[in-house]
């Protein structure tokens, strides 16, 4: 009896003791363990800001790209009681079969490629060989190293070839399963709840189809990640740009700015310029999961992601479309190589449209680039569609540069409003070494002389209207015969720079170049030669060494249109948040006011008005009903390898014509300009023939359709 009672007491004590151990001594430990199973912190993706045109039409947005991944901890474990069944491998094989890795060689290749990247070349080979699969190796040339081959020989660069497993032939399903198993074992050593990607860039419709099977494949995750979709593709490629992985050489810089090296960032266009603003910051949430690993509820505070800012552009989709189409047809018609057209509000620098052609479909950069036909095509195109010629191409501005020279001449007092210069035919600059031999002299003609026309005595307004070259030769470089003193190299360079040439305009796009404003010093350093009067003559009509980007020519035009204020061109109008609230509003940026006496710009403007509206103007075809347009044509001769004629040691053709770029700049309405446009067609022939129709179409659209009077 006593023994029985004692037994009861002992048993009770044991139970209480065990309870104490479980609850009190190891309680915290178990708590952590069970929370670890139950609670999981997930990243909440922050979408990137989208891009709208000035009317709120969406131009760039996000779309999902799908990846298939496996979560190690959700895979079935190999059961010891069934040693002949590989539960984990079977499940992996089921998932791989679902995505057709067993039947589609392309998918098998892609899975192997991803595993190769995940495992590295050693483990990749090891995973296959340990499972009894044969691995072929290929030799690749390695890094070059300076190696001293023999003591008496200098160090020579030697490449260090190494072998890598050949991943160019599709692997059978069991081999792929082995690779994935290997990758999963690695992941288990770190965090078993982190998914291992096995296939990416899955098209939406396929991903949706696969997702129906996820209910009985608990380890499979179909993860959507945002990629960019450019709704109007080619039409806005140079403006919007594209995104891609952080370039290796910029990795440090991005890391310092708080970027994760797996992130995609803007690599060109506005995507690059506004990368920091458009990028969102991910948030975090803790979720409770049931025993099947499904999210049951969210625990505690969700750290909301910070959404990226949206961009609202100054560009109007309707105008951009017309600009794109009109330029395209001009290029096709002239069989020209490329061209640019840009429109800007001359009163504030807002870019209303910007087109560089040929363009490209920037959506191809959102996809995987290897085996990407679209990308290969862009890469192989000799016309370099990726280059934004509006800001990255530099060309002689031709007669459009007469806007600068006439302003400079009036401002510097080289000519007055009524000063006339005589055009009586070609003029000659004598050779300084043979001053008496006219056959050695340099001949300068005006475009009209080819047609047997001389303009006689003309003033600055008429010179602009007629685009007479003799007037500008003499204004730019002086004329020894009449003892006329011109502006000279330094003054021309000074005024060119005042108008914005020689330096990037500061537009909110990457890759803008400054182009060249030649000076005597530059020529000396570059060619070890002196600046000649002939150089000044050429520069005065926008030829010779003088180069400009189409955007610089537009800024120049806008400055004339508004009476002398240089504005920094801006594509972005506003930054807004997801609710559409303005975060940063548009503020015009004045670069400088030109130091002009009153009335100077009026004369330049008058000259451009007459070019369009006087009976003998050079741009009369750009007139449009009801709106007073002012403009200036340009036909900039050039010589390059393709046009070189060895017989004439120049690019002259049989009729002694050089190839030329077509330019036309215009603004309207004349009295209170709202829009300034530049059109440039490389190798486009005469400005009046090729570039005017494009500009005219743009102005008509602007005044008749977008802002009807």
């Amino acid at each position: 009896m006593v023994v029985f009672r004692l037994g009861l007491v002992i048993a009770f004590c044991v139970i209480v003791g065990r309870l104490f151990q479980l609850q009190v001594i190891r309680g915290a430990d178990f708590q952590t363990k069970s929370s670890g199973n139950r609670l999981k912190t997930l990243e909440v993706v922050a979408p990137r800001g989208v891009v709208y045109d000035r009317n709120g039409t969406i131009l760039a947005r996000n779309k999902p790209s799908f990846e298939i991944a496996l979560v190690p901890e959700d895979l079935p474990e190999d059961k010891p009681e069934t040693p002949d069944i590989d539960e984990e491998g079977d499940e992996i094989a089921r998932v791989l079969s679902l995505v057709h890795a067993d039947t589609d060689p392309k998918i098998a290749l892609r899975v192997a490629e991803i595993m190769f990247r995940t495992l590295g070349r050693f483990d990749y080979a090891k995973a296959l060989t340990t499972a009894g699969f044969k691995v072929d190796f290929v030799t690749v040339p390695g890094e070059e190293k300076e190696i001293i081959m023999a003591t008496d020989l200098p160090a020579a660069p030697v490449s260090m070839p190494f072998t890598v497993p050949d991943i160019s032939t599709p692997l059978p399903l069991p081999a792929l399963v082995q690779l994935v198993k290997f990758a999963i074992d690695f992941k288990r050593q770190g965090s078993a709840s982190e998914a291992v990607s096995i296939l990416d860039s899955i098209e939406r419709i396929k991903a949706l189809e696969f997702s129906e099977e996820s209910y009985h494949m608990p380890a499979m995750r179909i993860n959507p990640s945002p990629i960019r979709q450019y709704v109007y593709a080619n039409m806005f490629s140079h403006v919007l740009g594209f995104m891609g992985p952080i370039p290796a050489e910029q990795a440090d810089q991005y890391t310092k700015r708080g970027y994760n090296l797996n992130e995609k960032v803007g690599l060109s266009g506005l995507e690059y310029s506004y990368q920091d603003q458009m990028r969102g910051l991910p948030g975090y949430k803790t979720v409770e999961r049931d025993i099947l690993g499904r999210e049951v509820r969210t625990i505690g505070q969700v750290q909301e992601p910070i959404l990226g800012s949206n961009l609202v552009l100054n560009i109007d989709l309707r105008l951009q479309r017309v600009m794109s189409d009109a330029l395209q047809s001009a290029i096709v018609q002239q069989k020209a190589r490329w061209g640019v057209t840009i429109a800007m509000n001359p009163q504030n620098g807002a870019i209303l449209g910007l087109v560089s052609q040929p363009s490209f479909d920037n959506n191809v950069f959102a996809e995987r680039l290897t085996e990407n036909e679209g990308y290969q095509q862009i890469q192989n195109d000799k016309r370099r569609p990726l280059l934004n010629y509006a800001i990255g191409g530099q060309y002689p501005p031709g007669s459009t540069f007469k806007m600068v020279i006439s302003t400079a001449a009036l401002a510097e007092g080289v000519v007055g409003p009524d000063t006339t210069i005589m055009d009586a035919g070609p003029i000659y600059l004598v050779n300084q070494f043979f001053p008496n031999d006219l056959s050695q002299a340099q001949k300068f003609v005006s475009w009209n002389h080819r047609y047997g026309i001389v303009h006689g005595p003309i003033n600055v307004v008429q010179a602009l209207s007629l685009s007479n070259d003799i007037f500008f030769y003499e204004v730019g470089g002086g004329y020894p015969v009449t003892k006329f003193r011109g502006l000279g190299s330094a003054a021309m360079a000074k005024w060119a720079e005042l108008f914005g040439y020689g330096a990037p305009t500061g537009i909110d796009l990457p890759g803008e170049i400054g182009a060249l404003v030649p000076t005597a010093q530059w020529k000396r350093q570059r060619y070890a030669e002196s600046w000649t009067t002939g150089d000044s003559y050429n520069m005065a009509i926008g030829q010779g060494y003088m180069l400009a980007t189409p955007l610089q020519v537009l800024v120049n035009t806008a400055t004339v249109a508004n009476g002398g204020t240089v504005y920094q061109p801006q594509i972005v109008y506003q930054l807004t948040d997801a609710q559409g609230h303005v975060q940063r509003d548009f503020t015009p940026k004045v670069v400088r006011q030109l130091p002009l006496q009153p009335g100077v710009m009026d004369l330049v403007r008058k000259g451009m008005w007459e070019a369009v509206n006087a009976p003998d103007g050079t741009a009369i075809t750009s007139k449009i009903d009801g709106i007073e347009v002012a403009g200036k044509t340009g036909t900039a001769e050039f010589c390059d390898k393709e046009h070189y004629n060895p017989k004439k040691l120049d690019c002259l053709d049989d009729k002694d014509f050089r190839p030329s770029h077509a330019w036309y700049v215009a603004f309207a309405p004349y009295e209170n300009p709202e829009i300034a446009v530049v059109t440039f067609v490389f190798d486009g022939g005469e400005g009046s023939l090729t570039a005017i129709p494009v500009t005219k179409k743009i102005l008509e659209t602007y005044f008749k359709e977008i802002h009807p009077r």
Binding site: P64, Y215, V287
Partner: protein, 341 residues
């Protein structure tokens, strides 16, 4: 007996009396058998007959009383029996009403099936809610009374005439689990009927039914019907899923979402049908317009209820539903009859 105990027992006393009495009895019996006692009997009878008569009346009354009580016991029993019968008939009636209701449901099914000739359907009863493996409050799985022996396989769609319920996620010999549309692991390809936009209808942890991955830049409206798209061939095309009740659209997100109210009332699931086979490329009218004239019913279903206590006693309730094809009627309709007493 207590008194006797107090007296000393005398064996001869009692034994002798018994022997004497026994011998006297034997003698009297022998006399009666030989007929020597008859005159005596007659004389006694003559003397005692009046008294006997009245005595008989008394005993008869007594017997009657006793009989009465016996009868009462029987009646009670009978009453209980009748009550039992009554309640069994009531149950019968209820069960018949149930059958009728079920037939009502089936009729709807027929109409539905008529419009979907490409579907091979097999009717099933909801027999339980699989809440054992749930830690949530939301009903996500149900159990039905069809299993492997009925040809049910994992992945088969489960529907009602109202629309899609889910699909078979687990099969045992004679029962199966159905994963409902609203489960967080469920994903079904769907299309918006009017705008023709596609996406995936999935359950969420919060219990909402969501149509996800609808392309950006396209518009759809509240009230649009959501149907199965048949993409991937796992579900028949054009089965109703629900109706859009809310649009979740933000320019910055990579796709649009629609909150969907399911057409099936998951709280009141009774009869479902397992789609055992279907033609994945079948083009069907997606809007199920049921024309009453076309729904001629051709199946017969007879339910006999027999009460053995009633003779000739066969109460027969006959429910005639015309139309058999293609629904297998046997399974759903025999079940309640078997459960009747």
């Amino acid at each position: 007996m207590r008194n006797l105990e107090k007296r000393p027992r005398r064996v001869d006393d009692l034994g002798i009396r018994i022997v004497i009495l026994a011998l006297a009895a034997l003698l009297l019996m022998a006399l009666q058998l030989t007929g020597h006692l008859r005159p005596l009997q007659s004389a006694i009878t003559l003397l005692t007959s009046p008294a006997q008569l009245s005595a008989t009346g008394i005993t008869e009354n007594i017997t009657n009383v006793i009989d009465y009580f016996a009868e009462l016991r029987n009646l009670r029993q009978r009453n209980a029996e009748l009550e039992q019968l009554n309640s069994s008939l009531l149950a019968e009636k209820l069960s018949l009403r149930e059958v009728e209701h079920e037939n009502e449901l089936l009729r709807e099914f027929f109409k539905f099936a008529k419009n979907r000739p490409g579907l091979e359907l097999r009717g099933a009863q909801l027999i339980g809610l699989a809440i054992g493996d749930e830690s949530t409050n939301f009903l996500r799985r149900i159990i039905i009374d069809l299993g492997q022996i009925h040809g049910v396989k994992v992945g088969m769609p489960v529907i009602t005439d109202q629309g899609l319920v889910g699909r078979i996620s687990e099969v045992n010999d004679s029962i199966s689990k159905v994963l409902l549309l609203t489960d967080a692991t469920s994903a079904v390809n769907a299309v918006l009927q009017k705008s023709r936009l596609n996406g995936v209808v999935r359950g969420t942890a919060s219990g909402d039914l969501i149509m996800d991955f609808i392309d950006q830049g396209v518009k759809f409206s509240v009230g649009e019907a959501v149907l199965t798209s048949g993409l991937g061939g796992r579900f028949p095309k054009g089965l109703p899923i629900g109706e859009v009740i809310e649009i979740r659209r933000r320019d910055i997100d990579f796709s649009q979402q629609a909150v969907v109210r399911p057409t099936v009332d998951f709280k009141r699931l009774e009869l479902v049908a397992v789609v055992t086979n279907f033609n994945p490329v079948e083009e069907v009218p997606e809007l199920l317009v049921i024309n009453p004239q076309t729904s001629t019913i051709t199946a017969t279903n007879t339910i006999s209820v027999t009460d053995p206590s009633l003779n000739p006693g066969q109460v027969t309730a006959t429910h005639v539903i015309t139309n058999v094809d293609p629904l297998d009627l046997a399974a759903p309709l025999t079940t309640p009859v078997e459960s009747a007493p």
